[in-house]
């Protein structure tokens, strides 16, 4: 099911752990969606000197976390912000369609940790609560649910689209 690279990162994840005196923290996901990811990083001269992750999730989620930290390590913050979900998936040699949403978490957690670093630098001391992006409700037609973005039919409680990986929200009419 998974590529060799995914299995390699899943079985021997890189950069596992948590930096206690981190300069930036990114925390995304929740157990309801199935995955939770925390990225902590140390910054020196605008460069990511050290980065670690902790993940509660499936094989893909763990591999994505491992890969995204590998990709970000040693990069400048500007370069690291350019790491996208797509580039993580490419580096992993692909993910099954219904696991693409896991890749969103990886880049999200990284970007959030970097933004957290910037905000701390500007003098804000308390870490800000993560703002939830706008989530489109599922579309209902004849008792079935469809992804609002790519129109694939979904099971009712699916927290993310199984095809495009975007988060969706189920609201009963």
């Amino acid at each position: 099911m998974y590529s060799e690279t995914v299995m390699d990162h899943f079985k021997s994840p890189r950069n596992v752990g948590r930096i206690e005196d981190a300069d930036g923290i990114g925390e995304v996901g929740n157990p309801v969606c199935g995955d939770m990811m925390t990225i902590t990083l140390k910054v020196k001269d605008d460069r990511i000197e050290d980065i670690k992750f902790e993940t509660f999730g499936c094989g893909a989620a763990i591999a994505v976390s491992s890969m995204v930290t590998e990709m970000a390590k040693g990069k400048t913050l500007e370069e690291a912000l350019k790491i996208t979900n797509k580039s993580v998936v490419e580096q992993l040699e692909g993910l099954p369609k219904n696991k693409l949403h896991c890749s969103n978490l990886g880049a999200d957690a990284l970007h959030q940790a970097i933004m957290d670093y910037y905000e701390r630098k500007e003098g804000r001391t308390k870490p800000k609560k993560r703002q939830r992006g706008k989530v489109e409700p599922l579309e209902h037609r004849e008792g079935r649910c469809y992804c609002p973005y790519c129109d694939v039919e979904l099971a009712e409680e699916a927290p993310t689209c199984t095809l495009c990986g975007k988060p969706t929200e189920h609201r009963h009419a």
Binding site: M7, F10, K11, P13, V16, G17, R18, E27, P31, V32, C33, G34, D35, M36, M37, T38, F53, E54, T55, F56, G57, C58, G59, A60, A61, I62, N98, K99, H101, E142, G143, L154, A155, E156, E157, A158, P159, T160, T162
Partner: protein, 389 residues
């Protein structure tokens, strides 16, 4: 690396005697049992012999057994067939909220056609209260469908008690016995059911063949129309090799059932006893009213698919009920119904034991599970948060 197969709820290995019987049949006959010449007669005799064995397994008459392509077809046939045949008498169907998707999705389709479904909630052990079935019955109730044993948590439902209620009210009662028939005693008379679904691959028979028990005079339409096979309940040329295998598997399951039950239950007990060495593990299902061959556990702070994959790396095959591993990314409706939260449901594994498993294999699996859980907890943010408390 040695394989330790602990996923008998997904499929059982073919019993060597079943395999021999199937190969023997393949080299002996190719006939269509419907043909009236002597080649057809050979097939017909084998077909009826298999039917007799399947009937004996569930204490039915051979004429009440319809061969199908497996549990899913049997269930679809029972539910849709009765709902369509009895549409003029009402449109209300009663079920439970922990049924297999074959039941739930058949009912969802009927709902789209205008039928109404009442779904009975189970308790924390996954038990259906027969009284709630009684209370849910209306004048328009045309079918009750409750499973015998649950495939995710192993709980065995009080089918006989529900059967007494449905019989009193003269309502057809379907029981999904796919994971219990051939594993524990199933008796259509004692249970008071009118329809019962079973599958051969749960008791060391081949995949792709099953049966539907239909009590005489039950109003039911076929799913497949065509020829006169199976008393016109199920058209289509018979899957003879599969049916022959199912017949043999049923015979062996009936004869060996007490020894098999004792063996798998011993393994299950050893497994559960050994779990005490892993902290924060919940056992799902009823402690005694449960399948002897299945142990369902929810491991806190880790996710099921990653546990399953790491166990597989060590040769151990199990099932997971985590949302990540389901195509739909949904948390299991069964686990949520018995009160597990999303994180617990995510960490659920199902170990199901079989007749070829040994105590050493179970001990090996426990050892490996312990390591796998420790590895994954080590990288889990939920585990760290819990330790801080």
């Amino acid at each position: 690396m040695e394989t330790v197969y602990l996923d008998h709820i997904s499929a059982t290995p073919l019993h060597p005697e079943v395999k021999r019987t199937m190969i023997d049949y393949l080299s002996r006959s190719f006939g269509n049992p419907v043909s009236q010449h002597h080649i057809g007669d050979v097939a017909l005799e084998v077909l009826e012999g298999a039917r007799e064995e399947v009937a004996r397994l569930i204490n039915a008459n051979p004429g009440e057994v319809v061969f199908t392509s497996g549990g899913t077809e049997s269930i679809n046939h029972a539910i849709k067939g009765v709902a369509l045949a009895r549409a003029k008498k009402g449109n209300h169907i009663i079920t439970s909220n922990i049924e297999h998707n074959a039941v739930l999705k058949s009912l969802r389709m009927l709902e789209r056609m205008g039928y109404r479904v009442t779904s009975i909630s189970v308790d924390e052990f996954g038990l259906v209260d027969p009284d709630s079935v009684k209370k849910a019955i209306t004048d328009g109730t045309i079918l009750v469908s409750i499973m015998h044993a649950n495939n995710e948590i192993g709980t065995i439902e009080p089918i006989a008690e529900i059967g007494r209620i449905t019989r009193e009210r003269n309502i057809p009662f379907h029981c999904d016995a796919v994971v219990s028939a051939g594993v524990v005693p199933v008796d259509v008379e004692e249970m008071g059911v009118d329809l019962l679904s079973i599958a051969a691959n749960q008791f060391y028979g081949p995949s792709g063949v099953g049966a539907l028990y239909i009590r005489p005079k039950t109003e039911i339409w076929p799913l497949l129309d065509g020829g006169m096979q199976e008393n016109s309940h199920r058209a289509g040329t018979h899957n003879m090799v599969g049916i022959v295998g199912m017949g043999k598997a049923a015979e062996l399951a009936r004869k060996d059932m007490p020894q098999r039950m004792e063996h798998v239950h011993g393994l299950k007990k050893a497994f559960i006893d050994g779990l005490g060495f892993i902290e924060d593990v919940l056992l799902n299902g009823h402690p005694t009213k449960s399948l002897p061959n299945l142990a369902s556990i929810s491991v806190s702070y880790v996710e099921g698919e990653s546990m399953m994959l790491l166990l597989d790396e060590e040769g151990i095959c199990v099932s997971t009920r985590s949302a990540c591993a389901s195509g739909s990314l949904r948390a299991s409706h069964v686990l949520l119904s018995i009160g597990r939260d999303y994180a617990e449901a995510q960490g659920t594994l199902v170990f199901s034991f079989g007749i070829t498993n040994t105590l050493e294999e179970v001990e090996n699996a426990l050892e490996t599970l312990k390591k796998v859980v420790a590895t994954l907890r080590n990288i889990s943010p939920l585990y760290r948060k819990q330790r801080k408390r």
